[in-house]
Structure formats: C-alpha cells, structure tokens
Assembly symmetry: C2
Homo-oligomer: 294 residues x 2
C-alpha cells in the first residue's frame, strides 16, 4: 500500500472514533483539529512499523489513530495565546479561534486521555501484556519527559531571550537539540516503537527503530525550519517566516541554510542506513525519507 | 487508621512520586498544586475502598496518589484566566499566578499522563488484567465523558447566561445535576471503583459503590456551595461568595439555603444506607460523611 491509501484509512477511522456525543462542543472541538487536512505521517509510520513485523493494519489502527490524536492535542495547546499564539493551523483558523480558549484547553485535555482509551478499547485482542506496554510508550511520549519537556524548554528559552539574557551558541545548540528530540522526535519514537511492539518485534529491532526515530525527528524538524523560511502560506498552511520574525530558535537561524541542508541530508542518509543494516524493508519509509529530502 | 494518618501517608508518597527532574519548571509546577495543603479526600476514599475488600494500603497507594494528581490537574486548568480565572487556590496563589499560564497549561497536561504512568509503574503486582481495568476507569473519569464533560457544560451555561439567554428552572436544574455528577462525582466514582477493583470486590459491590459515589458527589458539592456562601477566605482558601457574585449556577442559588441543607442531609442518609445495606464497614467513610453533614 502507498502512503496516500494508508492515510485515507487513518482518516476514515479517526472520523469513526470521534463520534459527536454530549456535550457536543468538546467533541466538535477535538474532531476539528484531529481531522484538519494532513499527511497523517505519524499514524502511517506506526502502521508501517507494525506491518514490517507481520501485523495487520487492523491491529495497529487504534494505536495509529491515538498517536494522531495526541499530535493534534499538542497542536491545540501549542497554538493557544499563552503559548505560541498561532491563529492558523494547517491553513484553517486554530482551535481556540473557532471554539474559544476554554474549549481548546479542554479539548486538548480530553484528547490526552481519549487517545489511550481508544487504544485500550479497540486493541484488547493484542492481550493485556502488550496493551500495558503500549500504554507505557504512550505516557512516556505524551508526558513531562516527552513532548511536554520539549515544549517547556522551548518556552523557557523564549522567555530568557525576551528578557535579553545572553545565551551562548553552544547552549542554544544544546537547547535546540533537546527540543527537537522531544517536541518532535518523541511522537515518531512512539509511532515506531508501538508499531513494532504490536508487530511482535524483538528488542534489538525496537532499539534500532528508537535510534531511527531520533534521527528522523531531527531531520523532520530541520526540513520544517527550512520550509518555514522559504515557503508560502498556501504551502505550509500557517504564517510563514513567523519563527524568524519572532526570533525563535530554529535550526536555520542557528546554523544557516547551507549547513541545515547538509545536516538534513546526513541525517536522512543515516536513517536509510539503519533500515538497511537491520533488514527493515519498507517502500513507505523510503517514500517518506525521499519526500523530506526534497 | 484515621483519615489524618491516611492523608499523611498520601502526602509523603505524592512528594516521593513527584521528583523534580529536568526541565525543572514543569515538575515544580506539577508538584506545587498537587501538594497544596488539602484533606486528600479522594485518595483516602480510594485507599479505604481497597481496604474494605482486603487490599493493603501499599496496593492502592499508587492509584490513590494518581487520583489526587488528576484532581490537581482539574484545579490547575479550571483556575486559568480563560476558565474560572481564580487567583487563589487552597489559600495560595493559583498555579498560573506562580508559574505563568503556559507552564500551568503544560503542568495540567503533564499530570494527565503522569498520573496513570504512576499507576502502571507501581502497580505491576496487581497483574495486567486489573491494571488495564483501572486504566479504563481512569480514562473514563479524566476524559470527555467525565470531569471534562462537567466543566464544558459549566462553561457553556455561563456563556449562555452572560449572553442573556433565558434558561428555565428545569433546564438549570438539569445542567447543575449533570455538572455535579461529572465535575465532582466522577473523581469520587474513580476513587471508589478503582479501590474496589484493587481489593478484588465483586460486580455487585462495585455497582453499589458507583451509586454511593454519585450521591456522595452531589452531597459534597451541595456542602461546598453552602460553604462558599457562608465561609471566610481562611476557611476555604479561596475568595468566598465569588460564585454568588459572578452569578454562577450553584445548588444554593437554584434551590435556596433551606432546601440545600435538607437535600444534603437526605443524600448523606442515602449514602449511609448504601453502606449498611451492603455490609460495607468503614470508620473512615462514617467520619467523612459526618464531617460533610456539619
């Protein structure tokens, strides 16, 4: 199957999971951001990771959808006025612009527990042991040691910059690496590891995918930073150049365009090598790496 | 054991679980609200529910602490400027006043997944089946069908009131009942049911405790509304009379003081009857019901 087909399957299932119940506003708000048009990269990666180790799509679909819900949760809260204050997301008004700040906070909260609930309710056939392990992966990625740690370091860095604190280049590089590892990488790590667990991969394979996820997460973020500097609103669905204007710490602002492009290529090469060295055969992963390379 | 001893055990364990790691701000913020002085009513109820069915304190302590963390999460987000906009909580400045709005949002997010992670990491000896069931209870209470549903209905009602919409008494009574059932009751339901599951209670007992939780939750909220109208800042640790001034829908504003006191007594009588009818013997529960009766 190709990426497009997989992402269509994910979209259909997300729509099914997110039924509008009472009180309607909260479910509408959750559904709004989860179903904004997107490539469904994280769920597709989860499905493909599971497939590589012999699982059916159906086995991994609840977990894949949960990861997209968690991703949407981070977008809703990141866009809030007290965070990045973004009015647009994927070309549409951001959640709090449509539903109010209060509902946006609560929709994010709701997704954080709705997502693992979806896994639990729909993955019983995986057995309690695997379920508990997937839950562990989910909590690790979603929590204070995962995406939230990345976001906190981002916010703290911006506060220190706005207070005029002089931060050395080494320190800024360290902060940026930490941000990318957690804010971006941890969701890919969750997708790859939970997929592999569902497929019954051995620990060596799971470890290799963990390293892949870290490198891929950084590559993905570098590509995003490059795009933010060079793309139009229509291409990225949000205000371009905003990071640069706001003085946000990005890979391109820290290292310049040339080194950014070079490092991106290096990281993607390393990702491909991990796939080869471990005998992971995946047209989907090749397709994804190709797309980011451009 | 008495309530005071149990809540001291909970406090000690909460302090232990909430170690300050990197990035420090997020853990400090989580810890700040979780450890604000309080009676630890929900965790104590969970411990006592487990004990009634033969479990040790140690068996239920991770779940009990997780419930207090979830409770703190709801307080942090409810106090945000875009929600109830409360500057004080338990006599201290609310979380966003100390740590900024952005950190308060993230601390709440982090607690939502940190809490079930604490259960999973520290309750392995309960076995995967019980763990999965407790997780299910947690997600149900924490999510869009639980406390969040109650909060959404609260917010929507306030919006409609502020827009001058005429809402009939019957409708307001219905809204208030729904709020109390979910915003307040669902955490007690979680405490009682998860405790009973840990203790190995049968389904009949769990059902009885569910009814108890619903009645107790409403009684607790009526008592809180009565206190809000009659107490001082020192007694309740937040601005008294705020609900009345802001025109918030409360039991006392809807039914008046006399009926509120009468209904409170009736509900507490019903709670005691459930304990008796089912042979649930608990000095702690008697103590709690006594305290609320006053």
């Amino acid at each position: 199957m190709q990426m497009k087909e997989l992402s269509a399957i994910v979209d259909k299932k997300l729509d099914e999971y997110l039924k509008i119940s009472y009180p309607e506003d909260i479910f509408k708000s959750m559904k709004y951001t989860v179903l904004l048009p997107g490539k469904r990269l994280r769920p597709v990666i989860c499905l493909e990771s599971a497939r590589m180790f012999g699982a059916d799509i159906e086995d991994a679909l609840p977990t894949a959808c949960a990861i997209e819900m968690l991703h949407a949760q981070t977008l809703i809260h990141d866009d809030l006025p007290c965070m990045d204050n973004d009015d647009f997301r994927r070309g549409k008004p951001s959640n709090h612009k449509v539903f109010s700040e209060a509902i946006a906070v609560l929709a994010g909260d709701a997704l954080l527990t709705f997502a693992p609930q979806i896994i639990m309710k729909n993955s019983k056939h995986l057995g309690a042991e695997k379920l508990v392990r997937i839950m562990g992966e989910y909590f690790q990625a979603a929590g204070a040691y995962g995406v939230i740690a990345g976001q906190v370091v981002d916010i703290e860095n911006e506060r220190r910059q706005s207070e005029g604190e002089d931060i050395s280049i080494e320190k800024r590089a360290e902060i940026l690496h930490y941000q990318h590892l957690h804010k971006t990488g941890d969701l890919f790590k969750l997708a790859l590891r939970s997929g592999a667990i569902i497929g019954g991969a051995d620990e060596k394979a799971i470890d290799a995918l963990t390293v892949f996820a870290e490198k891929f997460g950084i590559a993905f973020q570098i590509a995003d930073d490059i795009l933010d500097e060079s793309a139009t609103f229509d291409e990225i669905g949000k205000t371009p150049g905003k990071d640069k204007i706001s003085g946000k710490l990005t890979y391109t602002s820290l290292y310049g365009m040339e080194k950014s492009r070079k490092d991106l290529t290096l990281l993607l090469d390393e990702c491909e090598k991990i796939l080869q060295d471990n005998g992971f055969k995946s047209d989907i992963f090749s397709e994804i790496l190709q797309k980011i390379r451009k």
